[in-house]
Amino acid sequence: MGTLHKNKRETYFDNIIGHGYSRREFMKFAAFITAYMGLEHSMIGQVAKALETSYRLPIIWEHYQECTCCSESFIRSDHPIVADIILDNISLDYTETLMAASGHQAEAAKHDTMKKYYGEYILCVEGSVPLGADGVYCTIAGRTAIDHLKEAAEGAKAIIAWGSCACNGCVQGAKPNPTDATPIHKIIKNKPIVQMPGCPPIGEAMAALIVHYVTFGKLPELDRAGRPKAFYGKRVHDTCYRRPYFDAGLFAESFDDENAKDGYCLYKVGCKGPTTYNACGSMRWNNGVSFPIQSGHGCIGCSEANFWDHGPFYERLTNVPGFSIENTADKVGKIATGAVVAGLAAHAVAASISKRKEHKKRYTRGRINEEKIDKNE
């Protein structure tokens, strides 16, 4: 783990014990996070060892255009050690939300970390960066978000784009995107970027990502969109406990009908589970208590790029770009089909008039031919 600053840097284990947790609790945490990382049982030892021997990763956590729900999700993650140690206000070298310092002191702390751990620290970004009007829509300490991002990315070893804002612009990036909210990967091109979309992403997944990095010294396997496969490899629909109702064709049609009470599939009330890659169905939220579908609400597809612009949340309609909201693909299709049928009918009528002579001529010709054949000519 690079240069050691023994006086200042502690291992995760030291820190956990220092916080008054027992070794047993530490091992429980190792088992818990290994499972969340999607690793085999036999890997627990390696994870525990890594946490025991690795120094805490220097982390700079930036906040731009966002609502802080990602941080909220993180600090409310299942296991207390996640909030306390992996990302508590001590190990986070800079985060506006959680750190004790403020004002000039905070900025100084950030610059300190950036200098001391140049090329080593992980830059976590929550929120999108507004590029409109020279970036003035989001300024921190008198400087624009784009300025901050470029500076912080410079010495970062890797960047984690937390949440849909940082990955795709989320709500402020939705049409018409007045501030030109831009996701991180469109600005920073020369660093490895992990995408953790979701509004917010699941806290345990966020912690598991960090521990994965600590354990293996590298980022987990990513998919084509830059998301860790372990958490975004499956659709919500594929791990949804209501899936048997879907396959059985048992659907709720409104949120208060008998079928909804019976726990039927929410497909027809707009569930976006079938087009959303996330681990909600298997990890669930709030200590694994529940997730939206379990609470009777369809998935809104919060971890899919531009999900705000993908049609209404409560209907299985899809807007056709360029048409008004009420115009769905089906409506346009039905109108087009109707128009074509009408056109063909009109053509048929017109043809029977316009081509009458020709038709008759051909008909006569055919008759004469037949007669010729009859006469054996």
Binding site: D238, D247, K272, N306, A351
Partner: protein, 238 residues
């Protein structure tokens, strides 16, 4: 007008070879099945309540039929493309692309006479198409592109649920299009274009059959069309 009506002899010509006909009807059937099941999947009817999930699997079955038919559609499309390089003049890929000056003349002729229903002063033999005319061939090109769109978006959406290499070949499509939701929208909207195409296609077949009496409709079953002797003697394809 002339007093004597000219008579003409017709010859029976094999236009659509057996593989072409088989491909045609497999395409037709699979498009119908895919459209019906696709529209059901998009908006399933709710006709059961109070039931338990273990009692039924009808929606899963509809989806399964859609997926199996999709494979048939894909394989069939590949066979047809192969035949476009192996088959006779009328099945050949060249007959699909209006790249000669004459074919554009034919397009113009068909638009004028068959679509806008103007009558010709005198009949020009050359204008009679033996296979499909070039307006039709343009529509088949469009259909072919539509089929590609459906194959790419459809298998792209399907890829995540399959470990097999074939659907995996299309796994990049949703990422390329910005997610599953936009991919699904394209897949869904293109279905309507298939419906529109089929209506126009069937109508025009009937129209030509009615007007020309050359067996346009049955040709896709028997393979034969009837062509005037003089037209064959002129030995110019189209």
């Amino acid at each position: 007008m002339e007093k004597t009506i000219q008579t003409s002899d017709f010859k029976r010509v094999l236009v659509w070879e057996l593989p072409v006909r088989i491909c045609h009807w497999i395409t037709a059937l699979s498009v119908i099945i895919l459209t019906v099941t696709g529209l059901i999947i998009a908006n399933p009817p709710v006709f059961m309540s109070g039931a338990e999930a273990s009692e039924s699997y009808w929606f899963g079955t509809v989806r399964m039929i859609h997926f199996i038919t999709a494979y048939i559609f894909l394989v069939n499309a590949i066979v047809r493309i192969y035949w476009a390089f192996r088959g006779n003049y009328y099945a050949n890929w060249r007959a699909l692309f209006p790249y000669t000056k004459r074919s554009w003349k034919n397009v113009w002729h068909v638009l004028k006479v068959d679509i806008l229903l103007q009558n010709e002063e005198e009949e020009i033999l050359k204008n009679i198409s033996i296979g499909h005319n070039y307006v039709a061939s343009i529509s088949y090109l469009v259909l072919f592109l539509l089929a590609l769109v459906q194959i790419f978006t459809g298998f792209g959406l399907y890829a995540a649920t399959s470990g097999w290499w074939l659907p995996q070949l299309f796994a990049w499509v949703p990422d390329f299009l910005g997610g599953d939701a936009p991919t699904r929208l394209i897949h869904h909207a293109a279905t309507w274009l298939f419906i529109v195409f089929t209506l126009i296609h069937v109508y025009l077949v009937f129209y030509h059959d009615w007007l020309e009496g050359r067996g346009e409709t049955s040709a896709m079953i028997s393979g034969y069309k009837f062509v005037r002797k003089e037209r064959l003697e002129s030995d110019e394809h189209i």
